[in-house]
């Protein structure tokens, strides 16, 4: 399935112009929680008109919302939200998602590993109320790549689409 691969030599590498074929959504919006909510809802609506199944839409909605919330919280300084761009390309059995922002780079230049916050949980501790975001992202996407080009963060990942169930 070469057109699903994010490996070397594909045209889906960071830094490529966004004019590649197969784009089903391309949105730019402000990095605050209200705009993220609207942006995600618009994106999901757009994808729903492209024949993406409800279960897959749910997966995309979860992971895109988590990535965008992290950009709002960590990439841009509070009170000075920059822009976020989300581009989705359709492949035969995947959606390729590209998310760009011009905020701070990821710590140590890497996307978080996303360990479950209770991996080292002590039953006497209070149950963690945060730290589930990157765990969800890592569980739900494939081929996640983070790149920093000039002053831009570029996150790429793939969401595998389920097969339509015959009715």
């Amino acid at each position: 399935m070469p057109d699903d691969a994010l490996g070397h030599g594909t045209t889906d590498l960071p830094g490529q112009p966004a004019s590649q074929s197969g784009i089903v959504a391309d949105e730019v919006f402000k990095a605050d929680f209200r705009w993220v909510r609207r942006g995600v809802q618009t994106l999901i609506h757009t994808l729903s008109t492209q024949g993406i199944l409800p279960g897959d839409l749910g997966t995309v909605e979860i992971v895109v919302a988590e990535v965008l919330n992290n950009i709002v919280e960590h990439a841009y300084p509070e009170g000075a939200p920059g822009e976020i761009r989300v581009i989705v390309r359709r492949r035969s059995s995947s959606l390729m998602v590209e998310i760009r922002d011009r905020g701070r780079p990821m710590p140590k230049g890497r996307a978080p590993l996303g360990n479950h916050p209770m991996v080292e949980f002590n039953p006497n501790d209070a149950m963690p109320e945060g730290g589930y975001g990157w765990f969800l992202i890592r569980e739900l996407v494939r081929d996640l790549v983070y790149d920093r080009k000039e002053d831009e963060n570029i996150l790429f990942f793939r969401v595998a689409l389920g097969k339509p169930t015959p009715t």
């Binding site: 909510r37 279960g55 997966t59 109320e129 945060g130 589930y132 969800l136």
Partner: protein
Amino acid sequence: MHMTATEIGPALVVAVGDRRIDAAVAVRFKDKMLELTKHPADRVILDLGNVDFLDSSGLGAVVGSMKQLGRTRHLDLAAMTPTVEKVFRITRMDRVFRIFPTVDAALEDKADA
């Protein structure tokens, strides 16, 4: 954040009217839960039937709401829609909470939670 609390027998059923519990409203959700659960019921059933979407901030706020109840009171969840259910299942929080398919099923559950 639209939420209502109804006393049904020994339980307090808190219904969420909003379609999303996400980062934009997570703090307000938790505050509203604190306010509504001043009612002394030992068992609170959170009716998520209207909620199409919950993110990790919303999940954290549900966990926080459970902690706010203290050790002697319980928070059970009911009527999850598919995407909400997916977030609980993947994070394995479905093992932390008792989850019922409907509010009625939660109310019929005789076992002390």
